[in-house]
């Protein structure tokens, strides 16, 4: 709705400031008192509400703020709880109730999607802000119609994947497949590529951040020297990105091999099978990446007083 912005000004004093009188809804010139604009709508809050006023009647007559998750062009009518005899029928029940909330079909599709997202997110206890981001992303995809042809669960899973990544706590696609039954890795990959291509202004800054993955997977392994191993692993993975030939490897495979190496160096060696289960990768993949890393082991190790427990003696060959 484009309209030329009406710049109000007093015709006798064009430079004077205008005072807004909310009581009468007038805009008054401060120099001569001429009423320049009338019927100004005050959009501030009508009543003040306090935190301890939970049971008190909500005096606000316009309802709550807009929920960005839904298309807000439908207006609903709600019938308040009535008091007095005419409002109550013979059994003591309210005579008139807000029976069915008429949601439009577009809203219903969105609502289904949001429910699916919330259910999936609950399975891995994602943070509230990530879930909200995922819902917003779902709405964007729905409006832009960019993921047509994919089922709701697939789009929901992809939205969760993207919002986890954007929120700084990436979940691997395999983990998302775990919380989304019926959605395969391939489908999420395709949906993700489609959304990346077609959604305007879609920016996914970094590649999957490995630090977060390392700390999570180490947590799954129940290590004694958890913090030290996480530090060593982070250092190794950053060095390995620069010097080793592991560019095309999936991040979870790299993390698996790196944690394996870190555990071996510190002396708390874990079998590759455990690593495979914790990261969700195959043992042979971890072995392959580990072989690549072990070619340059001496350059990958961290140096410093706190890393004195690291030794190359216990490094397994495979």
């Amino acid at each position: 709705m484009t309209r030329n912005m009406q710049t109000l000004s007093c015709r006798f004093h064009p430079e004077s400031t205008l005072i807004e009188d909310w009581r009468a809804g007038d805009t008054i010139c401060s120099e001569c008192g001429l009423v320049v604009g009338d019927r100004t709508i005050d959009v501030s809050s009508e009543w003040r509400t306090f935190a301890n006023d939970t049971d008190a009647k909500d005096m606000c007559r316009v309802g709550g703020p807009d929920n960005f998750l839904f298309d807000n062009n439908t207006f609903d009518t709600m019938i308040a709880k009535g008091k007095g005899k005419p409002a109550v029928d013979e059994f003591g029940q309210q005579k008139y109730k807000t029976t069915s909330v008429q949601t439009s079909s577009g809203d219903r599709a969105l609502q289904d999607g949001y429910n699916i997202i919330r259910q999936m997110a609950n399975r891995i206890s994602l943070e509230n802000r990530i879930v909200k981001q995922a819902c917003l992303l779902y709405k964007k995809c729905h409006d832009a119609k960019c993921a047509r042809g994919y089922e709701k669960e697939a789009i929901a899973a992809t939205c969760i994947y993207i919002s986890c990544r954007q929120g700084g706590m990436p979940r691997t696609i395999k983990e998302i497949c775990g919380i989304a039954p019926g959605v395969s890795k391939v489908k999420i990959g395709r949906c993700f590529s489609k959304i990346k291509q077609e959604l305007p202004n879609f920016i996914l800054h970094e590649a999957v951040d490995v630090k977060n993955l390392i700390s999570r997977f180490c947590g799954r392994l129940e290590l004694k020297n958890h913090r030290l191993i996480v530090k060593v692993s982070t250092h190794i993975s950053e060095r390995a990105k620069e010097i080793c030939d592991i560019q095309s490897r999936a991040p979870e495979s790299v993390v698996g091999a790196v944690i394996y190496m870190a555990c071996a160096i510190i002396g708390e060696q874990k079998p590759i099978k455990d690593l495979g289960l914790a990261t969700g990768t195959a043992e042979s993949t971890i072995r392959q990446v580990y072989k690549e890393l072990s070619l340059k082991v001496s350059q990958l190790l961290p140096t410093g007083p706190e890393f004195s427990a690291c030794s190359l003696r216990n490094l397994p060959k495979c």
Binding site: G189, F192, Q197, Q247, S248, P251
Partner: protein, 141 residues
């Protein structure tokens, strides 16, 4: 849909009951045309009254390799609008050029090019070569 395979030229044809035929798997566009004509001829011999109509080349796939390995992470960082690299999904980076050509770039230096015609395949490589050269991996593993 019936799948017909020819020995010479080596190709696979998908024949639909509507009359549409897709010929895939040949190594040159001339071979593709010969294969399409062979399919049409074999259908004529079977008794169907068919003609080869609306023949056109739809998709060409080529592969080549650069003599040096490529740093695809650097490539995806320098040109984020055209290069998409998701190691979880595919080990190669996908490059979408402005005019209907898609390259898949791998760390080994191999390239796979997909384009709607053969000429575009060549121009696509020429177009993207300077950027690949910029992102080559100088280190010897």
């Amino acid at each position: 849909m019936v799948m017909m395979k020819l020995r010479n030229p080596h190709c696979t044809a998908n024949v639909w009951s509507s009359g549409k035929v897709t010929v895939t798997g040949t190594t040159s566009d001339d071979d593709a045309r010969r294969g399409a004509r062979r399919i049409a001829r074999s259908l004529q011999r079977l008794g169907f009254k068919v003609h080869l109509r609306h023949y056109r080349v739809v998709n060409c796939l080529a592969s080549c390799s650069m003599p040096w390995p490529i740093d695809i992470v650097k490539l995806s960082r320098l040109y984020p609008e055209s290069v998409s690299y998701e190691p979880e999904i595919h080990p190669g980076a996908t490059v979408r050029l402005t005019e209907k050509a898609v390259l898949k770039v791998f760390t080994t230096g191999n390239l796979t090019i997909t384009a709607p015609c053969v000429e575009r395949l060549n121009t696509a490589v020429n177009e993207f070569y300077p950027k690949l050269y910029e992102c080559r991996n100088q280190r010897q593993y």
